[in-house]
């Protein structure tokens, strides 16, 4: 009888010691130096992080950090880690893409009611051409835009929130971030706005479309990821078929056949896809149709280089150009 209690005691002590020691060494060898900062800006995803970095520029005492990002999958289903929660507790402001992209946002608002949140989607939705979220194949063919013709306000989530993929809307997000930060830190308001305008000018001059917007203007395209609806919009192309693929999406046979029919019927020459989740379907589409599938990046993951946005978008356009 006594042995049993001794065994339990020893077992629990051993597990505690092993857990404590392994955690101690893990922390020791993975410790990130904490930078002293006057203002900590947290961002929810890579595109917003890049925009915030460019708006802040070289201003001393302001640090921009991104929430730790999933290495696979999309942002919708990301859950916050302990590191994120620690960073948010210390943050002065959280900048989000918005539009339902950050599923955890409600939890953050509940946990940190005093944290200032800059929602870039909210800031641009009435002034820029936001694309309606596709419900099914029939509706894809009639995708309409919001904002251009002063439509009435709709609830978030009904719109495609991958707005950063359009450089026009992204420029609006950059301005929204500068305005939001200027309200919080009035001392640097002029610098934020100047940096935002300067970055938008650089974007305009450096993103190389190589005449694609003329080649694809009015042409029909199909997409295997909702984010590329904005790529198509930037190039003036019509999206005639959408199949949004991610790790949790199981497509039905009817959906695939209807997608292929749309491609054939509308004489689609190019399909925009994301490699990880669209590769298998892309091969099938190339087998069944005359369309070329081109694999583009969605900017959800990146190297955190300030010029990433310009580099990746230019690369995407070059890939489309090469496929034609």
């Amino acid at each position: 009888m006594k042995n049993k209690f001794l065994f339990v005691l020893l077992l629990l002590i051993s597990i505690s010691v092993v857990s404590f020691c392994s955690t101690f060494f893990y922390v020791k060898y993975n410790k990130v130096e904490v930078v002293e900062t006057d203002m900590l800006i947290m961002t929810s995803c890579n595109p917003v992080y890049l925009a915030a970095c460019n708006v802040v520029g070289d201003i001393d005492g302001i640090t921009v950090e991104n929430l730790s990002q999933p290495t696979t999958g999309c942002l919708h289903d990301y859950t916050l880690t302990t590191e994120d929660m620690k960073n948010l507790a210390a943050a002065d402001v959280l900048i989000v893409n918005g539009g339902g992209m950050e599923g955890y946002l409600e939890d953050v608002i509940a946990a940190y009611p005093d944290l200032t949140i800059i929602d870039t989607f909210e800031a641009v939705e009435d002034t820029y051409p936001i694309i309606a979220e596709a419900e099914d194949e029939e509706e894809h063919e009639e995708e309409h835009v919001h904002g251009e013709e002063g439509e009435e306000h709709h609830h978030q989530g009904e719109f495609n929130s991958h707005i950063w993929m359009s450089e026009e809307i992204y420029a609006g997000q950059v301005i929204a971030i500068a305005d939001g930060l200027a309200d919080i830190d009035e001392a640097h308001a002029t610098e934020f706005k100047a940096n935002a305008n300067s970055f938008n000018d650089i974007m305009k001059s450096h993103i190389d479309k190589s005449g694609l917007d003329e080649v694809l203007a009015g042409e029909n395209v199909a997409i295997l990821h909702e984010a590329f609806a904005y790529t198509a919009q930037s190039l003036g192309a019509n999206v005639v078929a959408t199949m949004d693929l991610d790790e949790e999406r199981q497509v039905s046979a009817g959906e695939v056949s209807s997608f292929i029919d749309s491609i054939n019927k509308n004489n689609v020459k190019v399909v925009f896809a994301e490699y990880d989740y669209g590769h298998a379907m892309g091969k099938l589409i190339e087998e069944q149709t005359d369309a070329k599938v081109v694999y583009l990046e969605t900017l959800v993951h990146g190297t955190y280089d300030k010029d990433d946005y310009i580099t990746v978008l230019s690369k995407n356009y070059a890939l489309i150009q090469n496929s034609l």
């Binding site: 077992l11 955690t23 916050l80 880690t81 953050v108 419900e135 991610d246």
Partner: protein, 267 residues
Amino acid sequence: MFNEMFSYAFMVRATIAILLISPLFGMVGTMIVQKRMAYFSDALGHSALTGIAAGVIMGIGNTTVSMIIFGICFALLLNYISRKGLSSSDTLISVFASCATALGLAILSRGGSFANYSAILVGDILSITYTEIIELIILFGIILLFWCFSINRLTAISIHATLAKSRSISVRIMEDAFAVLIALLVMLSIKWVGILLINALLILPAASSRNISDNFREYTYFSIIFSIFSGIVGLFVSYFTDMATGPMIVIIASVIYFATYIYGKDR
């Protein structure tokens, strides 16, 4: 180290939540293991998806309510059909669980929107709020009361249902009440623990305790101790290593299970 950990409000809330949920899992788990209901609680966990889907269809803003209602109906229906004895209970539970999961997935994944609900698969105890902690305190009180008044009857039924009947214990009512209790516990904690892991937290501490216990009192106490210990150590490790809390708790509970299994086998 600990000062830093508890300087964050979210960690204080998560610790309180673990201290509330884990003893309940340890306690209720003993009876689930004793009555061989592991598959039943697993099925209930999976049916949470259908509960959410029902809430979405009916336009219920708070899907916890629809999950609880669906969970209770699901548990009572399972008990009712199992009593009819038309098929073996594991087959019935499997059929019901698969059907409920498929229905939930089909509805929630319509238009590719399952991603909005996928967080419930792994749970997120770090984002628990004080209002939700109050819900857990109420649940804690309900289960504790039920346990104090019904543990002897439930034990009698788990040993021999006919014998329990002969002692004027209403087997049907007790079984239904216990099923409702499991449904409440599973549905109210699933958001924090996750569908994939909730059954592990219910079963592992009780199963570990069973490996080394000689009587029901030891069985219950050890189970509660193992459950609280796994919860606290799992939370501590996950905080410093930046890994998900639920899986870390299950890993610790699994280590305890294997250790007690080896010890119990050699006794």
